[in-house]
């Protein structure tokens, strides 16, 4: 079942569009126009590049992970987005959007966050630009990611725990949306992924795209050729599109997105939207959705707060349907095994989100063999996940916290 692309605005095949209240259309039009202008404006682009270089620490390293490669049975190159300022790829998109919001004269930015990485990145950029910042975060997530709540507050942001629905990322998005409908004159909504109504999916992809542009050039420098496959985890899908986009025209390069399979697709408890969902409308765009037979959104389940979302960006839906990219689920257990493996072989503690990509690399290595070169997006670092991982691996003393 597909929906017709009536307007053709912001469409990726049949996906995308703007399924939002009329009240937001003027703001989306204004944003689309401002972004279109910024895209071709050399001053804006220069300033964005300067922030990425001098503030976020780009370009991020491409790391030849030899011990991990030996374990997985193919050459693994890690794109080290975990080394960016704030510890994840999220800073790229946020610096772009906050720079744009500042130019548009907005005094206030709001954001939703799951794991807290996007919230921290937004709070960081808001502090840098002197803007007021409010971050919505599900009450379940404020508990499992308490460290990031403290970081946002230290940066001067107001963190609002959301107690409705499943109390996770989806509900934080809804609440941020409600805020925006009422404050759109003064406020920019810094959506943290390649989802939402046009122009967000396109704009966020473009701000995340330096990941792939750099990695492609770094591969050519290192190998003298392109990698055989590019691998990323997919929640909403911004780090994945960030690294995929530069490679989409390179048809010899396979693209793999790994979704959060939770307790397994058969259990019904997962967050694998493309592999376990169906086309529908959620959060302002037509894409894939986890939904029941009545179109009610199903709750997602995964150990990874950052992937705990029942939707996915519309461009991924298009890459999925056309077969240009392949999407598969990774279970919690598979992700945590990969998490441990990266810690032990390379001395790198990854975000649990990124551990899904490492687990995916193990599968792809098995299929493509030892001569294959796999470029893997290590989208974030795992400091925020230490408590979750310690609990998973039974490292906690029964009587209290780790000492």
């Amino acid at each position: 079942m597909t929906s017709p692309a009536s307007s053709g605005i912001g469409r990726f095949g049949p996906y995308g569009g703007r399924y939002v209240p009329e009240a937001l259309i003027a703001a989306l039009d204004e944003l689309a126009a401002a972004y279109e202008k910024a895209r071709g404006d050399e001053d804006f682009q220069r300033e964005f590049r300067r922030l990425l270089t001098e503030y976020a620490g780009r370009p991020s390293l491409l790391y030849d992970a030899r011990r991990l490669s030996a374990e997985l049975g193919a050459r693994i190159l890690l794109k080290r987005e975990d080394l960016n300022h704030t510890g994840a790829h999220k800073i790229n998109n946020v610096l772009g959007q906050v720079l744009l919001a500042h130019r548009m004269g907005k005094r206030r930015v709001i954001a939703e966050t799951g794991a807290g990485q996007h919230g921290v990145a937004t709070a960081t950029a808001a502090a840098l630009f002197g803007l007021e910042c409010v971050v919505y975060m599900g009450a379940v997530d404020t508990e499992r990611q308490a460290l990031n709540v403290a970081r946002m507050r230290l940066l001067g942001a107001q963190v609002v725990p959301v107690h409705t629905g499943s109390k996770t990322l989806k509900d934080a998005l809804n609440e941020a949306f409600r805020d925006w409908v009422a404050t759109v004159d003064t406020t920019h909504y810094v959506i943290g992924t390649v989802a939402g109504p046009h122009p967000f999916p396109e704009m966020v992809r473009d701000f995340a795209a330096p990941i792939g542009v750099e990695a492609r050039a770094q591969c050519l420098d290192l190998l003298g050729r392109l990698p055989d496959a590019v691998i990323a985890c997919v929640g909403g899908g911004s780090n994945a599109l960030g690294i995929f986009t530069a490679f989409v025209p390179d048809t010899s390069v396979r693209l793999y997105g790994f979704e959060a399979g939770g307790e397994g697709l058969d259990s019904g408890r997962h967050a694998a939207t493309l592999t376990g969902g169906s086309p529908g409308v959620l959060l302002g765009a037509h894409s894939y959705v986890l939904q029941d037979e009545d179109g009610q959104t199903r709750e997602s389940h995964t150990i990874s707060a950052g992937l705990d979302y029942p939707g996915v960006g519309p461009e991924h839906a298009y890459l999925h349907d056309t077969g240009r990219a392949v999407y598969r689920p990774i279970t919690d257990a598979g992700a945590m095994a990969a998490f441990e493996l990266l810690c032990r072989t390379e001395g790198i503690i990854p975000a649990i989100e990124s551990a899904h990509a490492i687990a995916g690399a193990r599968e792809v290595a098995g299929e493509l063999g030892p001569d294959a070169v796999l470029l893997v997006c290590l989208s974030g670092r795992g400091d925020k996940d230490v408590a979750t991982a310690a609990k998973w691996f039974g490292l906690l003393d029964e009587s209290g916290p780790i000492t």
């Binding site: 009240a23 003027a26 629905g165 529908g280």
Partner: protein, 269 residues
């Protein structure tokens, strides 16, 4: 067979020199039978057009009150088919009934199938808060095929050009969102709504009804002084959420309806 057209009901209220009263409750709230009884009580006490809400898991333009009602309805097991059965039960009593729904449940049901079944249930049409005409090609075709009303929203932020396009796609009446924000009762009625209604009137002869924030007869009278209809939602939901039992809820709904119905008649010249 399509039911009584809500636009005709609003028109006839206008012809008699008053505004129409439009009342909202979600289907299945607090139960299927309870919901039908409450909506029927509304009609008996003076609501002219009934809006049956389709409870949805992600109601992004609803405030806490309607979110709570949708939660109750979904937890009590309300399905899309129950919404259509609610429409049928209320329409049978002679009321004009429209469905207010977010888009995904309709998309999932199948747009043409939903239109066909809504018409068969005696429903007059749809109010679509997250579907703008630009994205509504399939719905416009289905509503034409099944003779249903299409009520799109305009907002204070809508440009004149967008108002023009939107009212051009409407059939029945136009829903003017009085404020920038989510549903919920407010202390004061909107200061920007009269100007918005004026801009809509310049673009269409269709009736213009105003919603978002009205909870009393006094506020209804104020809105009725410039609009053709007054839509009330959260205040009705609040009656039910605050009630001690079903009888109490029915009494509270009847009392609020009478107050609002007197309000929309107060300004008649």
């Amino acid at each position: 067979m399509t039911g009584l057209a809500s636009g005709a009901v609003v028109d006839s209220a206008r012809a008699s020199g008053r505004a129409a009263l439009i009342g909202y409750l979600p289907a299945g709230f607090p139960t299927f039978d309870g919901g039908v009884a409450l909506l029927t009580a509304m009609v008996e006490a003076g609501v002219d057009v009934v809006e049956v809400g389709l409870p949805y898991s992600d109601p992004v333009i609803d405030g806490p009150t309607i979110q709570a009602a949708a939660d109750v309805a979904l937890r009590s097991g309300t399905k899309t088919a129950d919404v259509l059965r609610t429409v049928e039960a209320v329409a049978k009593g002679g009321a004009a009934v429209v469905v207010m729904t977010y888009w995904n449940p309709v998309l999932r049901y199948g747009v043409d199938a939903f239109a066909r079944d809504l018409a068969a249930a005696g429903g007059a049409g749809l109010i679509t808060p997250d579907l703008i005409p630009d994205e509504a090609g399939e719905w416009i075709a289905a509503s034409d095929a099944h003779g249903l009303e299409r009520i799109f929203l305009v907002a204070p932020s809508s440009s004149d050009a967008r108002i023009e396009t939107t009212v051009g796609a409407c059939r029945g009446w136009v829903y003017a969102a009085s404020t920038m924000g989510v549903t919920g009762t407010r202390e004061q009625t909107s200061s920007v709504a009269p100007a918005l209604v004026g801009r809509v009137r310049a673009a269409t002869p269709l009736p213009v009804c105003v919603g978002l924030g009205v909870s009393s007869g006094e506020q209804a009278a104020e809105v009725a002084s410039y609009a053709d209809g007054v839509a009330v939602g959260s205040a009705f939901v609040r009656c039910v959420l605050d009630a001690t039992d079903e009888t109490d809820a029915l009494r509270a709904i009847a009392r609020l309806t009478s107050d609002l119905a007197a309000g929309v008649r107060r300004t008649s010249a």
